[in-house]
């Protein structure tokens, strides 16, 4: 039906209208621009645009993520498929010298060091983070909390290379003086990471404490509880799933930190004998060696395997966060 016909239909409908008080003609129904009504309006086109734009961005991101995972997975697995390294050997042997052939590709030392550094850093940082968060939410004034918040944001914003540099100039000599040896090792890395994960854990813990309804505080105080009793018997208990999530986020950060760790860990791929012997983490080995290998060779593929391991670990951390989040909702 073309516009002329449509107009005719409208006209005749107006002539026939039996409800006299609805004066369509007066409000200019006959002047209705039928052409513009039958075409999508400007707003509709904007709608299409906006929708299209978000879809485009999402598809791009999905392709990007899929290709990153695919690329790392492909090269990481080549060590086992093409170079025939035994996967069990890779995970349990601490003999790391991929240039020497497939029997010298063992990542156990790095895996152990990575986990040791991560766990120790989280273990040291968590009590401090909870204390700072409690101070910010329960004790300090709003002004003080805002000030601390900006300090924490500042700590997050400092580039990791600066932390590494500080660690190298301050912590390593300090440890060398106290424990002897080189000063490089897990202890130094733990201390550097402690400062780096502290703000992460703190700010997430602050969020979790703020999410505890103030009704609980009032109810507890009204029952004759002291402030501290309220904190450790109600607030921390209610917030604990989310605090656990905060700790795991901190651990994910510690596990993935490369540069700062590389600067203080010593970079010797050895099973750590103690906390002050030089060692290497998965990430530090990647950063220090990636420039020294040729694409497609076993040493290079072995590094990709380390990357794959890191990827899997970050998935595990994500999964843990989800799991604890779900538990907390119950």
């Amino acid at each position: 039906m073309n516009n002329k016909d449509l107009k005719k239909v409208v006209e005749s409908a107006l002539d026939e209208q039996k409800v006299p008080h609805v004066k369509l003609r007066k409000i200019g129904a006959s002047k209705v621009d039928v052409a513009s009504l039958t075409k999508p309006s400007k707003e509709t086109r904007q709608e299409y645009w906006g929708k299209g734009l978000t879809y485009f961005a999402i598809i791009l991101i999905i392709i990007l993520v899929a290709s990153i995972i695919g690329f790392i997975g492909f090269h990481g697995l080549e060590t086992f498929t093409k170079d025939h390294v035994n996967i069990f050997h890779f995970l349990t042997s601490s003999d790391w010298d991929p240039g020497e052939g497939k029997n010298h590709v063992g990542a156990a030392a790095m895996i152990v060091t990575s986990f040791a550094v991560t766990l120790l850093a989280a273990l040291v940082a968590t009590p401090f983070a909870i204390a700072v968060a409690l101070f910010m939410t329960e004790y300090s004034s709003k002004k003080g909390a805002r000030f601390l918040q900006s300090v924490i944001e500042l700590l997050v914003g400092i580039p990791s290379v600066v932390y590494g540099f500080l660690g190298l100039t301050v912590i390593v000599p300090f440890i060398r003086n106290i424990f002897g040896g080189t000063g490089f090792g897990i202890l130094s890395a733990t201390l550097v990471l402690f400062v780096m994960v502290l703000p992460t854990i703190t700010s997430l813990t602050v969020d979790s404490l703020k999410a505890v309804p103030s009704d609980y505080r009032k109810a507890s105080l009204a029952l004759g509880a002291t402030k501290w009793q309220t904190i450790y018997k109600v607030i921390l208990r209610v917030a604990s799933p989310r605090i656990m999530t905060a700790v795991i986020f901190g651990m994910a950060r510690a596990f993935g930190e490369a540069l700062a760790v590389q600067m203080v860990i010593g970079n010797a791929v050895l099973m750590p004998a103690n906390l002050v012997s030089p060692s290497a983490t998965l990430t530090s080995q990647l950063t220090s060696q990636m420039g020294n290998t040729v694409m497609g060779t076993l040493p290079n593929n072995a590094l990709w395997s380390l990357a794959l391991l890191l990827l899997i670990m970050s998935l595990v951390f994500n999964f843990l966060v989800r799991l604890i989040g779900k538990r907390g909702q119950k």
């Binding site: 009704d215 105080l221 029952l223 004759g224 018997k233």
Partner: protein, 251 residues
């Protein structure tokens, strides 16, 4: 009957704004006193003064005399924790902790340092019975208190407040967040308990005040307008403004 809480010329101001302009009101022991009045008249504020729940509000200034069993509760030597064990409180929103029913009721006892398991068991049962929620909870004391309905949660909160055996329980609009059936159940609970404990209840619901309270205090704009036996006040209000309010001419 004796007065358990007495207040004399209580002024309270937030910053420069005075919210209570000198309230003198005595509460009888083992009776239920209702505080009524239009929104913003200061009745909840006044209620919170009675166990010092206003203390944490910044810029608050309270003068006057509030005595609990003859002791000035705003005295610097007053032990806040002890006071709140004697003067408990139930809030408008049911606020059980997200723990088991048992842990909720036992909370007040445990923080008071009671470790005797038998005593706690006994008190939990007794308080739940007093709050008329024992039937619903006795078979699932381990269940999360927040899994119960709103009215049940509020009765769990009442039981939690009763477990520490307070002398006075302050109720801040305990039924206004509940449906009519749950409200009437709470009312029944209070009616049964009102001669074992002293209740002071803020309510918006005039019918509720007339149904369950023994004494009523009418507050407006931070002043106490009229106070007396509920029956007398509802039948023969002494002041015109009280009569107007009770008859719904404003508020």
């Amino acid at each position: 009957m004796e007065d358990i809480i007495t207040s004399k010329d209580v002024h309270l101001s937030y910053g420069n704004v005075e919210a209570l302009h000198g309230i003198s009101l005595d509460f009888e022991e083992k009776e239920l006193t209702a505080l009524i009045g239009p929104s913003g008249c200061g009745k909840s504020t006044f209620l919170r003064c009675l166990n010092r729940m206003n203390d944490d509000i910044p810029n608050i200034h309270i003068t006057g005399d509030i005595k609990f069993e003859g002791q000035n509760i705003y005295d610097s030597k007053m032990d806040l924790v002890e006071l709140r064990k004697e003067v408990g409180m139930v809030f408008q929103q049911p606020s059980p902790f997200p723990f088991s029913v048992y842990d909720n009721i036992a909370y007040g006892l445990r923080i008071a340092g009671i470790k005797d398991k038998e005593l706690i068991d006994h008190r939990v049962e007794e308080s739940l019975k007093q709050a008329a929620i024992w039937k619903e909870t006795k078979d699932n004391l381990d269940r999360n208190a927040q899994a119960f309905s709103g009215g049940q949660q509020q009765r769990i909160c009442i039981a939690r407040a009763l477990a520490v055996r307070p002398k006075v329980v302050l109720l801040d609009e305990p039924t206004s967040a509940l449906d009519p059936i749950s409200s009437s159940e709470i009312e029944e609970t209070l009616l049964e308990l009102k001669h074992e404990f002293t209740f002071i209840m803020v309510t918006h619901n005039l019918q509720q005040a007339s149904r369950i309270s023994d004494y009523t205090a009418f507050l407006m704009n931070g002043d106490l307008i009229e106070y007396g036996k509920t029956a007398d006040m509802f039948m023969n209000p002494k002041k015109q403004i009280t009569s107007d309010y009770l008859n719904g001419r404003f508020g």
